[in-house]
């Protein structure tokens, strides 16, 4: 049996490859077991590759008959490292800007002033060619994830704690006393096209106080 990779004459017209000398021509596989072994290993790699490509496609596509049928298997393969989310500004980019403010309450019942958290971020992002994730993503995605979570779910409780920690990190001074509550106010201002005559009125949503518990957890 002729060795499969020596059937093709070496390509002499191609330019010599820098670094080629480090990789000499392949050794002939003369024994049957080595050929079978290589074939098995190659088949396994090709199978895994095909599966990876299928998962990549199905995870990126909208939920469909196929992905719903195999949702358990898809999750098993894709979570947590092969998550695909390419809805970049799609189907539509956000058409409103969100301003998030927060205030703190101390044990004595003293309520601090509203502090605009997003304004801090916008000021940091302004004229910075490479903004930090902490200013461009953290509050934006944390709030988006909180809003998108099921009310009362464990996920929402975790995200609430995340937002509370973020607020404390941003506005609680080192000399301040122990806080007992955090409140958020979310102001949503719709963007309007220049030719639009619709009146713009921001909607304001004030969240209930989140009570801070001693062990670093919260409740509403």
């Amino acid at each position: 049996v002729p060795d499969e990779d020596l059937r093709r004459p070496p390509d002499t017209t191609a330019p010599p490859d820098p670094g080629r000398e480090a990789y000499p021509e392949p050794v002939r596989l003369t024994s049957r077991w080595s050929r079978v072994l290589l074939a098995l290993v190659s088949a396994a790699i090709v199978a895994v590759t095909a599966a990876q490509l299928a998962v990549t496609f199905l995870e990126s596509a909208p939920p469909n008959t196929l992905s719903r049928h195999y949702s358990a298997q898809l999750d098993w393969w894709a979570q947590p490292w092969f998550v695909q989310n390419w809805r970049l500004f799609a189907p539509d980019p956000q058409s409103a800007n969100t301003t998030i403010s927060a205030r703190l309450r101390t044990g004595a019942g003293v309520v601090g002033p509203w502090i605009n958290l997003t304004a801090i971020d916008y000021a940091a992002v302004l004229h910075d060619p490479m903004p930090s994730h902490g200013n461009q993503n953290e509050l934006r995605l944390a709030w988006g994830a909180y809003e998108g979570s099921t009310p009362g779910s464990a996920r929402q409780v975790m995200l609430r704690q995340y937002l509370v920690n973020f607020v404390l990190q941003r506005i609680a001074g080192p000399a301040s006393g122990p806080y007992t509550g955090v409140q958020l106010e979310v102001r949503t201002t719709p963007m309007t096209l220049p030719d639009s005559s619709l009146p713009v009125s921001p909607s304001v949503r004030t969240l209930p106080w989140w009570v801070l518990l001693n062990e670093g957890s919260t409740r509403t």
């Binding site: 499969e4 059937r7 093709r8 330019p15 820098p18 670094g19 000398e21 480090a22 990789y23 000499p24 021509e25 392949p26 050794v27 596989l29 003369t30 080595s34 290589l38 290993v41 190659s42 790699i45 090709v46 490509l53 990549t56 990126s60 596509a61 947590p80 490292w81 695909q84 390419w86 809805r87 970049l88 799609a90 189907p91 539509d92 980019p93 800007n97 997003t118 916008y122 992002v125 302004l126 004229h127 910075d128 060619p129 490479m130 903004p131 930090s132 994730h133 902490g134 461009q136 953290e138 995605l141 464990a154 704690q161 995340y162 920690n165 973020f166 990190q169 963007m191 096209l193 670093g216």
Partner: protein, 384 residues
């Protein structure tokens, strides 16, 4: 007729199998990906260095406790949960050491130092930093996680690396045929391993290419469902999102041009939609690569997303053939050649002297056909 067809099929499958097992594709392409992603993450970690404690440290808003709770609540294997929470530590020293380790790994990735191990370490770094706070990452983190995993399966250190430089030196020193003389079961096993590595590398390159196509295809198909991308006003809204208004006056200037933003919105959708199919063409591919490059430059500058843009452009570069990178190297060297004393410069960089690149040039000079711009041409006459 049937016998002929069968022979052809057999011939084709044998050739395909041979090239799959002994011909690693895109060795320069994967090396460029290695360097690019290493640089991108190195730059990212440097940029976030002053904020590292607040983003991923023991005192981060997404606290180590939350990170562990998140992993615990997931339906994953125990070892994946441990991997996922590797950076979620309450120990300051361990965190600082991890950060230093991550920077060193990124630098080693760029240089191509011990790439077999470095590429796996790079995957660990990118995945654990991304998993430390999964709500912190944008598209760039998502792409980087995927690419770092794929690259770990590739032979991305065989070109443009300190590894290849060292290997070519040691191979020069040893008798050239020493390896080929080895026979017996062990030598065959070593060869099977070598070919399996080639198969894995080729698979990784294919997956990287397909991943880029999926990104663009999905991004385009999500967009065509949106009303604003249909009526061409999407760019107006994108340019008014406060989180991405780095240069507001520039954003306003572009957003103020309704026709221009409409054209950009439509062009974005069509370019992204066409890309997965155009990569199979010879010329259109390059047109689209240039358009995508322009799009990403715009995103990087206007929206303050340079890491995302860099990550996407580097991913696009996997579609450039090795001959492109070799030609680029030749051009760069021929531009440098007229200098009176290049050796001093080369010595200082420590990268070119005595390396494969240097040898490649000398050998290539003989192989260039007449009339091709090559090392013999000076920059002044190159375009003449």
């Amino acid at each position: 007729m049937i016998t002929g067809a069968r022979d052809q099929v057999r011939d084709w499958s044998e050739r395909t199998y041979a090239s799959l097992t002994v011909r690693p594709m895109a060795l320069y392409g994967s090396a460029v990906l290695r360097i690019g992603y290493g640089l991108a993450y190195f730059g990212f970690l440097l940029r976030e260095f002053p904020h590292r404690e607040a983003l991923w440290g023991p005192s981060a808003a997404w606290s180590p406790a939350l990170a562990h709770q998140y992993a615990r609540s997931a339906d994953w294997y125990g070892w994946i949960k441990s991997w996922y929470t590797l950076l979620a530590t309450t120990d300051d020293t361990r965190f600082e050491l991890s950060y230093a380790f991550a920077l060193v790994v990124c630098a080693a990735m760029v240089l191509g130092l011990r790439t077999r191990f470095t590429s796996v370490a790079f995957m660990l770094v990118v995945t654990t930093f991304s998993a430390r706070d999964v709500f912190l990452g944008d598209g760039s983190d998502n792409v980087l996680v995927l690419m770092s995993i794929y690259l770990a399966f590739s032979a991305c250190g065989r070109r443009l690396s300190l590894d290849s430089r060292r290997r070519s030196r040691t191979t020069d020193a040893a008798p050239a045929s020493s390896r080929r003389l080895a026979t017996g079961a062990l030598a065959e096993l070593a060869e099977v391993r070598r070919r399996a590595v080639t198969v894995a590398h080729n698979a990784a390159v294919v997956v990287i290419g397909c991943q880029m196509c999926v990104i663009y295809g999905a991004a385009a198909l999500w967009k065509v469902q949106g009303r604003t991308w249909q009526d061409g006003t999407a760019m107006y809204y994108v340019l008014h999102i406060d989180w991405f208004r780095v240069w507001p006056s520039l954003s306003d200037l572009i957003a103020g041009n309704a026709l221009g933003t409409c054209v950009i919105a439509y062009a974005t959708v069509f370019v992204q939609l066409a890309f997965p199919f155009a990569v199979f063409t010879k010329r259109l591919k390059y047109v689209l690569l240039v358009l995508l490059l322009a799009m990403h430059l715009g995103i990087a500058l206007l929206m303050g997303l340079p890491v995302f843009s860099a990550v996407m452009v580097i991913g696009d570069s996997v579609f450039l053939p090795d001959s492109f990178w070799q030609a680029l190297g030749r051009t760069a060297r021929s531009l440098r050649r007229p200098r009176p004393a290049p050796s001093a410069d080369v010595n200082r960089s420590g990268f070119d002297r005595g390396s494969i690149i240097w040898k490649g040039r000398v050998r290539y000079a003989k192989a260039i056909p007449e009339g091709c711009p090559g090392p013999g041409h000076t920059p002044g006459t190159r375009d003449a």
